[in-house]
Symmetry: C2
Subunit: 326 residues, 2 copies
Amino acid sequence: MTAPLIDNLQYANWSEKVFRQLRAGRVDAIHVTIAYHEGFREMVLNLEAWNRWFERYPSLIFKGTEAADVTRAQDTGRTAVFFGFQNPSPIEDDIGLVEIVHQLGVRFMQLTYNNQSLLATGCYEDEDTGLTRMGRAVVAEMNRVGLVIDMSHSAERSTLDTIEHSTRPIAITHANPDWWHPALRNKSDQVLRSLTNAGGMLGFSLYPHHLAGGSQCTLSDFCEMIAEAASRYGAENLGIGSDLCQDQPDSIVEWMRTGRWSKEVDYGEGSASAPGFPPMPDWFRDNRDWPNIRDGLRDAGFSRDETEGLLGGNWLRFYAQSFGPA
Amino acid sequence: MTAPLIDNLQYANWSEKVFRQLRAGRVDAIHVTIAYHEGFREMVLNLEAWNRWFERYPSLIFKGTEAADVTRAQDTGRTAVFFGFQNPSPIEDDIGLVEIVHQLGVRFMQLTYNNQSLLATGCYEDEDTGLTRMGRAVVAEMNRVGLVIDMSHSAERSTLDTIEHSTRPIAITHANPDWWHPALRNKSDQVLRSLTNAGGMLGFSLYPHHLAGGSQCTLSDFCEMIAEAASRYGAENLGIGSDLCQDQPDSIVEWMRTGRWSKEVDYGEGSASAPGFPPMPDWFRDNRDWPNIRDGLRDAGFSRDETEGLLGGNWLRFYAQSFGPA
């Protein structure tokens, strides 16, 4: 069996068209965001919408909950869809909901989006207080049931605290090193060393605000950055989390940034002059462009095995270690 | 492997004491009620409480979701706990919640408690309008995902409608024939013939208001009633759903009867002079008394195989047919 192709973060405006493009690009598994600011019941409505898609397109997609589902996807020519939250809002103030959402099939949860949460501090806050009391309790519970901690949007100290407090490897599913492109959402060398030393995974983002040069970033620049990261952190701890937000209207990026927490406009990584989704690089417009990434990685000097690991083999190993009870 | 012992309806005030009595009585599986009038989020709180019990008493109990779990319970000397609702209130007005509650492990749902619901009519209403529009849609969805329809508290026409409309066998988990004891909650010969002709299951209740003679009903009277039912409906379609409400305070029977639907007192099967839980018959006080039922069935003339079927083998066959997708 060849290594699978796994994209560990997407948030498309889902449709039959997108599902068919996933198949055209031979994507075996994706981790999709099903909550940004939703409470528990609202998140369940999003699960219900996914159940409808699974019922309607059983030859294209199915719900993934364990590593074996990735292999099943390869065997049956479909895409396994794994669920995650970019904010702990769906568990409200109730630690019992950690196990409930795991039973519903959720496999990743960020401890914060951009703001302070009940659990930790987001990367846009002025002050970073680290893990809260509830944060420490929820990390232990996530470790127990097999819900992966994702710190993609969290602040530095909170992330380091969590790597230390967690008894299992964690993930940064979609971000890049800040030594390549200094952005609030990109990660320090110290965070990435701590993450990967503890067995954690980094997924490289293709969201233009996370790229050196933005939408104009070249494929070779992106892949050379990955080569440098591999030399620092080990290629086996790296994968892709493209953050592809295909076909979304700009109202969605407004929802991501502002939710219901403010009456003011917050431009996040954008600006008043460019408030919407930035255009994707022309070498990664949608899921049909994965062959470009594969070629770019080989051109950057990665072996065939390393390339297959970066494109999914490493995430598969992490899934197998992470999704079951401790 | 000998047949398992399955009680297909209990609602105890759960405690380590009750779990140990289940083991003392060698009960391999129970179906427990986790909602009477709860909305979705309240029902999830009840699931969370059960998750705590499973975490605390792993050597006594575990969550059951498929027939194989009954065998696993036998193999490991524990009791598998299956979940059900006595009212469709947890799915609110949202058909998408049918699959969600099945994904959370729920395996039985009554279409009504005693009153009219969004789906059908309860046995205490003056008028029985049969399945509603949403009722027909929900029956089809329950059939699709493998959530068993339970009509224990439903009215005659609604029950007959549902047996006809359902493409899979349904259950009356806890009731007795009204030719033995005429009570609103007991079932007509026509209902029981239709139910069992369609492959459905009847679980005999030990709740005193459902027994001829009430708390004074004798074991031989109860078992002779079962023998008569077996001659009419086939022993293979019969089991037990004791409705044991052990250690519950009377405030719980008030909640069952009145929920939040009325500001008046409703005595249900009780009365102003006897509003609380009636005492159980002295031959079935708790889960340690199952050997009495086994002896009573043999004394009423059932063969060893028939007795094992009545005490769990028949429910196990029904579980195997019912809990998966259509």
